[in-house]
């Protein structure tokens, strides 16, 4: 395993090392078998794939990998928590739920937080038809790969009329000793009617090899519910993340997502929202910052299926050095979806001549009585403002950091959890000063 493997070698390894225990309950063996067949024929996405036009995996998948096993590493450095308050902390090591490292002490009665293999039959029957319902394993190779290899997905089930006060914090930790590891965390979240929940995802990694995570989530937002979802993708260890999140919204509910990506060798986010019923609202905010030769790609899709829904999206990018950012946002308004309000905006700052942004806002409207707008702007640091700050004794480095923080804070200030917002601001300040 010392020699470099070719693309097909990793693909072949992932196919040949695939196995599923047919006798275990709740293992979705036929779905997983179908998924591995699909991955096997699709292969990893390449630049020829329209959805991956600007994001190349070739340098990542050309490395030899181990597929993350279930063996648990019993400790990891969790000292720098981004929340001050105690939360429901769910730790995943290389994609596998680590119950001993997790803290579910604040879990309210009635909600279910567990892996598929440990939930009871009654709960399993409630979720059986939901798992895999929001993902497309026929065309999406990365999701097919996750579906095949996610051996024990994790369930968050929130019954009707439940308000979950503490934040549910998913900590995705990747670990390797010296080899490269690829892992497949998989989450299913179902909220009932009249519920409220705040979800936070954070990422970290350890080890000298490459950590490559392929994380897929499905979220069902129940009628009249509120789901606030925060993703803080900042791994100083330069890991690789593919993260697809599929959300379907029932009637009169609100889903908000705030994704902040600031460190990582390569991050690809797919965020797909379906406004399946009337009277719902979606808010999508994103801040992505890249430097060195790193790469962040955000693909979002908001699909307005039914009337009287509102979606509002703002993504901001700060692209430095020789790095690349991608924003591809699509709003779809179906024929039925009259009285839709859909807004999307992408604003980017390029800090060097060698930084690149590829932005593609798309609007497809099949209804006639709608209000929609979209737009993208890309600019540089405002040199007038730079001079003004410096004329007051502020050094060029601090002046630049102040202007970039001001640009970024439009997104960070949307975070209503004080301790989270404050720690992100501190990290952002440090990130922008160097």
């Amino acid at each position: 395993m010392v020699a470099l493997e070719t693309i097909t070698d990793l693909q072949e390894k992932l196919v040949t090392e695939f196995h599923v225990d047919k006798n275990a309950r709740a293992n979705f063996s036929s779905l997983r078998e179908k998924a591995i067949k699909s991955f096997s024929s699709l292969g990893f996405p390449t630049l020829r794939n329209e959805d991956w036009k600007y994001t190349s995996l070739s340098s990542i998948i050309n490395l030899p990998y181990e597929i993350a096993g279930v063996e648990q590493i019993e400790k990891f450095d969790s000292s720098s928590s981004i929340l001050k308050e105690r939360s429901i902390e769910l730790v995943f090591i290389n994609g596998h739920f680590a119950s001993k490292l997790s803290d579910t002490g604040l879990k309210p009665d009635g909600i279910v937080l567990d892996t598929f293999s440990r939930i009871n039959d009654e709960v399993f029957s409630l979720i059986k038809s939901k798992y895999g319902a929001l993902t497309n394993i026929d065309d999406n190779a990365m999701v097919a790969l996750n579906t095949a290899h996610a051996s024990d997905p994790f369930l968050v089930y929130i019954p009707d009329n439940t308000m979950v006060e503490p934040i549910i914090h998913f900590k995705f930790i990747s670990q390797n000793k010296d080899s490269n590891v690829i892992s497949f965390p998989r989450i299913l979240i179902i909220t009932g009617k009249n519920t409220e929940v705040k979800l936070l995802e954070s990422f970290g990694s350890e080890g000298s090899g490459m950590n490559f995570s392929n994380l897929v989530s499905e979220i069902f937002v129940g009628e009249n519910s509120r789901v606030e979802h925060f993703k803080f993708q900042s791994d100083p260890n330069e890991s690789v993340l593919f993260n697809e999140t599929n959300v379907v919204q029932s009637a009169s509910c609100k889903y908000s997502n705030n994704t902040i990506s600031m460190q990582g060798k390569l991050i690809r986010n797919n965020l797909n929202i379906v406004l399946q019923e009337e009277g719902s609202e979606t808010e999508l905010f994103g801040l992505f910052m890249t430097k060195d030769r790193n790469h962040i790609d955000n693909h979002t899709l908001v699909d307005h299926v039914k009337p009287n829904c509102v979606s509002n999206e703002l993504y901001k990018g700060i692209i430095n050095d020789r790095s690349t950012g991608v924003f591809n946002g699509k709003i779809m308004v179906r024929q039925d979806a009259q009285k839709t309000n859909a807004f999307q905006s992408n604003k980017n700052m390029l800090l060097t001549d060698t930084a690149t942004i590829n932005t593609k806002p798309q609007l497809e409207i099949f209804a006639d009585d709608v209000k929609c707008s979209h737009g993208a702007t890309t600019g540089q640091l405002d040199m007038e403002a730079m001079f003004y700050l410096q004329s007051r004794g502020i050094s060029p480095g601090n002046a630049k950091a102040m202007l970039l923080e001001a640009f970024a804070n439009e997104i960070v200030d949307k975070i209503k959890i004080d301790s989270l917002r404050d720690s992100i601001k501190v990290m952002l300040g440090d990130y922008l000063k160097v």
Partner: protein
């Protein structure tokens, strides 16, 4: 304080200042007048260190040292202050954050501890009050949505916070109503000491009724074409631009 010798400045290949000579000593207040486009703001910008301008000739000594060597923030740290003709709006940066960063960088340059939030607040509040600036401005973005008068008062407020030695005001009077003009002038007059030097750029004689200059210079087409005492400002007001152009022609011919 500052000594400008045969200063020539170009932007985008076009010569704007064509040989400026000017000496300002501590305790003196010099007024610079002249029609639009004559190079007044260019002179102010070059003194403050705006990077787009290219100095093609001459020198500027500040406190005996070569000023042109220093980047803009270093000039500010050494006591140069420019009140801008058109202060720029900076969305997302609050006045409080901006001034605190500025003050603490100045203090750091002087090897002083940073001001803590309490001390900073009490100092800033006093000075805002003196300039008739509402306290709610602390949380507003720098110059964003400020009226013309608010922007100018904000500049003078910053001057009082930073306590500079060499103060350059670029048309701080334009766009001010009479009450604001009085507040601004009072701010400047209270600030005058034997140690501080002032260069006041103005288009109108009006300001000089409130801020009385020691010297007046008239600039036209990149040159100082006439210098005198405060009576020159009145003479200029009376005789107008044609007189200036004639003077300019004579100066070039000499």
């Amino acid at each position: 304080m500052i000594s400008i010798k045969d200063l020539k400045v170009s932007i985008e290949g076009k010569e704007i200042l064509k040989g400026i000579n000017l000496e300002v000593n501590p305790g003196e207040l010099h007024a610079i007048m002249g029609p639009n486009g004559s190079g007044k703001s260019t002179l102010a910008s070059v003194l403050a260190g705006r990077p787009e301008y290219e100095v093609t000739g001459g020198e500027i000594l500040y406190k005996g040292k070569d000023l042109l060597e220093l980047p803009a923030d270093q000039r500010a740290k050494q006591g140069i202050f420019l009140a801008f003709q058109y202060p720029v709006e900076i969305p997302g940066v609050s006045i409080a954050n901006f001034m605190r960063s500025a003050i603490n960088e100045l203090r750091k340059a002087k090897n002083l501890e940073p001001l803590d939030a309490m001390d900073f607040l009490s100092e800033i509040k006093d000075k805002m009050k003196n300039m008739g600036i509402d306290l709610e401005f602390l949380n507003r973005a720098v110059n964003e949505g400020f009226s013309g008068g608010e922007k100018k008062r904000n500049e003078i407020f910053q001057m009082t916070m930073m306590d500079p030695d060499m103060i350059i005001l670029d048309e701080t009077d334009s766009g001010l109503d009479i009450d604001a003009l009085k507040i601004v002038s009072e701010g400047v007059n209270n600030f005058r000491t034997d140690e501080k030097a002032f260069l006041i750029i103005t288009h109108y004689q009006r300001l000089l009724n409130y801020i009385v200059p020691d010297y007046v210079h008239v600039i036209y087409d990149g040159r100082i074409v006439k210098s005198g005492d405060k009576s020159l400002a009145l003479e200029l007001e009376e005789k107008g631009y044609e007189w200036i152009k004639k003077l300019s022609k004579e100066a070039v011919e000499n």
